[in-house]
């Protein structure tokens, strides 16, 4: 397997994630998009470090990405719960009390 394949998959994942974030109004959907972006970066890191003689930095970075993605998801979901209790929806275009 060549490095390029990994990078292309990473790029596709990233773009899909970005696309999801930009087009979705459902906050859970956006969170999923964000996960895609983070995993794209993680994949890139692992791939680069594998083809760079198993350089350790990339692997470490990937592990941290997984951990932090989880932490971020926890905070985001907590906020979403609070939102849901109050607004009964989690669509970002309906949760509007602050004016544009």
């Amino acid at each position: 397997m060549q490095l390029e394949y990994y990078l292309i998959i990473g790029l596709i994942l990233f773009l899909l994630g970005l696309y999801t974030c930009l087009t979705r109004v459902n906050a859970i959907g956006m969170l999923m998009g964000i996960e895609l972006m983070l995993n794209a970066a993680g994949l890139n890191f692992v791939a680069f470090s594998h083809f760079n003689g198993n350089h350790i930095d990339g692997h470490i970075m990937a592990i941290f990405i997984i951990v932090l993605a989880a932490a971020e998801a926890v905070v985001a979901l907590a906020v979403l719960l609070a939102i849901y209790k109050r607004f009964k929806v989690i669509d970002t275009d309906k949760v509007v009390t602050l004016k544009e």
């Binding site: 993680g42 971020e72 985001a76 009390t97 602050l98």
Partner: protein, 490 residues
Amino acid sequence: MPNLASMSFFIPELILSAVALILFIFALVSDKAGKKGEYASVIAIAGLLASAVFVLKNFNIGSPPLFWGLLVLDKPAAFFKEIFIITALIVIIFSQRSNELRAGANDSAEYYSLLVGSVLGMNLLASANNLLMIYLALEFVSLMSFILVGFARGSSRSSEAALKYVLYGAVASGVFLYGASLYYGLTGTLDIKSFLTISPSPHLTISLAGLFILAGFLYKIAAVPMHAWCPDAYEGAPTPITAFLSVAPKAAGFAVLMRVFSAAGDGFNWPLIIAVISAATMTFGNLAAIPQTNVKRLLAYSSIAHAGYLLMGVASGTPRGAEAVYFYFAAYLVMNLGAFLVVQIIANTSPPLMGGDIGEGGRESLAAYKGLGRRGASGAILGITMTIFLLSLTGIPPFVGFIGKFYIFAAVMDAKLYWLAFIGIANSVVSLYYYMRIVKTIFFDEPADAVQPAFSSRRLAAILGVLSFATIFIGLYWQWLSNIVAAVIA
């Protein structure tokens, strides 16, 4: 420097971590209902002060790389750390007497813990020297801020602000990470110094990586095009947190921005890109601030504009520019916190100066400031101090904001970015208009009723006095501050 040897230089951060954890435990075990928040805030203040002392102690030790180069302990980092700590100290005093936060008084120990934790994250960010460390610190600060923004649990707009902040923040960190991964692939290292080792020719991929990394930082400082979260998050957050966010994380963003993009060399012409972003940011911030009727939101846009002014200093790419940014941050801390403090006092006044809830037409709206200057002695004091802060934000002498702006413009002129200087002065004039709109409302309009605002506490009055005095005093006698800043550069 190996890990154990680094520890002795890491005391400020260790103290902060300890205090944050102690506060969490305190929140669990303490049963002093009602007084809990007060005790917690005292612990937090003590911890921050101790940390500040140790930061100062390490000021003059050169710049040793700690933990095998993950962190570096140079003077700019120390300066920014002091800025974070001072901001946090002032904000803690704001928080002690905030009605919005008192609603959730039961978990105020956690609140202070999060605040201290966020300072810890920013301290790490200011001295981070490695993309891994930068990412960790960035996320750490962000996570803390997300929770702080949504901390007023009784308020729907606080939750909404937190939601927007979280989603934007997560996207920004995703973009940043992807950039970091490209950077890692091209250089084979996460050390930011090696931006210099890549060939200076503008290679598409490395430029892309740089832009993505930059986007992550721009999100932290709320610069165009990563600014969209800022007005909503600032408006919805409890006012003390808004004040905190508008200064400390912004400073942290600048600290890391200046570290990364000064190490980047001039291979990719970052200064030009930053100059364009700076022009766009201040123009957007100022123009968008004009029609605002909520003072907090207006100040949010004004803080975007100020990010633009600060970026001018970065764009000049000279030591003089860095000096100007440092000076401006000290000035900005004083005047911006002061302005938010007045907003908080007005919003907390009961009976409210304007009937109704907090949002539209409520106690944060411009309508609540109508004739403030004529509402008795306390109204006049609030009106005058607000005027001082706003004029300082505009950059009118004899207030500290003018000196800050003067240094910024001097740096830009020195770097021969004349077009940027012109955009900057045009923006100063525009900003005068909307700041003066508040001043006009305070002094020229007739108050709707005879209610006088009340200082809910003596300590807020005292801190208001200190901030407005500092705004004038440093505006007249700034030499000592510029000496400090010069020492940071040296």
